[in-house]
Amino acid sequence: MTAPVHTATAALRVNGAPHELRLDTRATVLDTVREQLGLTGAKKGCDHGQCGACTVLVDGVRMNSCLLLAVACDGAEITTVEGLAGDGGLHPLQSAFLERDAFQCGYCTPGQLCSAAGALRELAAGRPSAVTGEGHPPGLPVVASDEEIRERMSGNLCRCGAYPGIVRAVADVAHTGTAPGDREGGAW
């Protein structure tokens, strides 16, 4: 005997576009953006919150979309990798990932990019991590050292092992706001 499916409605704003959706209550944000909205950037890696390939921004905050029930996100603004740049071009992180060879197969990359975007905001907002000095004044920006970037990106796994390039790419954007190739004069 199969239990009846339960549905509910949810209003999600995804990459700026409003969607009124009727959803199976079991649908995650990941399944919803991929299968209902055709946004296949966010990836299903482990589906258990361990690999980070599904990372999206929810109201500007990075989360694992595989563990978020879509019905629980009613009213939220979701940003996937497709909406990261906002204007159809490349986000500075995307340019930096290209410049720094920060991926091979690319499967984890959308999650890495969204996670990095969230991590940069958290650094700027002065949110501490496990490696932030205990004397850091609350609320002041945290310097994006390689150690900070590695710790803060630890929720995103890369089976290709592109970590050195990822750290460089995130550091580029953290320190200059742009990828090296996007800088005036182009010298690096």
Partner: protein, 339 residues
């Protein structure tokens, strides 16, 4: 995943009433553990009552310097809260020592305290497990138990509470405010989680329908110097093998005040009262610290593959207490950085 109904709670009283009349219902916080367990088939709720929109999302001052922390506050927010960093840094350190940035942004304080064990048999419905399905047995005793308990286990279950936050809260004598069908009550952290005994399916003393609404932290002067330290298999995004939350005041070389709690060793955060008693008035030396930890860990009954936890916890605790003893008042203080 089994189909379920979803409701967003608009009031705590109504949410509690709904749960009390629905045995198959569960509260939903950030969902980082519950939704995962639903995918695994370990949890099979008929109804989820989402409590994240209830007004339990603030960190407020209590008279005398204490804090009232809403149960729906996200872990990342609490770890960055100036009052927490200032008055009880062990809490922030414990939060930041676990999970990933993404998980901490979603997971709530109440859900963190009620997270289930990561015992591999509990998480696999294809295996026997007395906690998940009472009476089916415990393969962990003979099987994969490297992460499991060395203290307070029973023949029926050797699971550990996996969290770090509860360890810091236990050391600082925090309590949870609970709203239940019969009203509200306060439960000290030291009495919240249960040892398995012959009822391993019950992680805590809470009954179905009980809702944690707040964490209450009284004024504890030595909490301002508290720390949380853990030993992990990896340097990031890893559960603690063992952990310690501690606060220490040394007066002319002797221990004047001490608070000590261990994680990763039992089904509940382990307040090390025997070690605290032994330490009070004793010299603040590595030898005295080690003897006190040995007193606490004397009843340990490690299994084949987790005996390493005893010397690891001993070393971690001695190192942590030495670190705290080295921060003697005055000498250890640095001038505040300019904002």
């Amino acid at each position: 995943m089994r189909p379920f109904r979803y409701q967003r709670a608009t009031g705590a009283e109504a949410a509690v009433a709904t749960l009390a009349s629905s045995p198959g219902a569960r509260y939903l916080g950030g969902g980082t553990n519950l939704v995962d367990l639903m995918k695994l088939g370990v949890e099979r709720p008929e109804l989820l009552v989402d409590v994240t929109a209830l007004p339990h999302t603030a960190v407020e001052d209590l008279p005398g310097g204490g804090l009232l922390i809403g149960a729906a506050v996200r872990g990342a927010e609490l770890a960055a809260h100036p009052a927490v960093l200032d008055r009880c840094p062990a809490i922030a350190q414990a939060l930041l020592a676990g999970a990933s940035g993404q998980l901490r942004n979603a997971a709530t304080v109440g859900g963190n305290l009620l997270q289930r064990t990561r015992c591999p048999y509990f998480q696999d419905p294809g295996k026997p497990c007395n906690k998940r399905e009472p009476g089916t047995g415990c393969p962990a005793r003979e099987g994969a138990h490297r992460h499991l308990a060395v203290l307070g286990a029973s023949p029926h279950c050797v699971a550990t509470h996996p969290g770090d936050l509860a360890v810091a809260l236990t050391a600082l004598d925090a309590a949870v405010r609970v709203r239940g069908p019969e009203g509200t009550r306060t439960v000290p952290l030291t009495a919240l989680h249960r040892l398995p005994g012959d009822r391993p399916e019950r992680d805590t003393v809470l009954d179905h329908g009980d809702l944690i609404t707040h964490v209450e932290l009284g004024p504890v002067p030595e909490a301002a110097g508290s720390v949380f330290r853990s030993a992990r298999d990896r340097a990031a995004f890893s559960f603690a093998l063992v952990s310690v939350a501690a606060a220490l005041e040394v007066d002319r070389g002797f221990v004047r005040r001490v608070r000590l709690a261990f994680g990763g060793v039992a089904a509940r955060p382990w307040r090390a009262r025997a070690a605290e008693d032994r330490l009070l008035g004793s010299p603040a030396t590595a030898e005295a610290f080690a003897r006190a930890v040995d007193t606490e860990l004397a009843p340990a009954e490690p299994l084949r593959d987790n005996a390493f936890k005893v010397p690891l916890l001993r070393a971690l605790t001695v190192r942590t207490l030495l670190e705290l003893a080295g921060r003697s008042p005055g000498a250890g203080e640095r001038p505040p950085e300019e904002p």
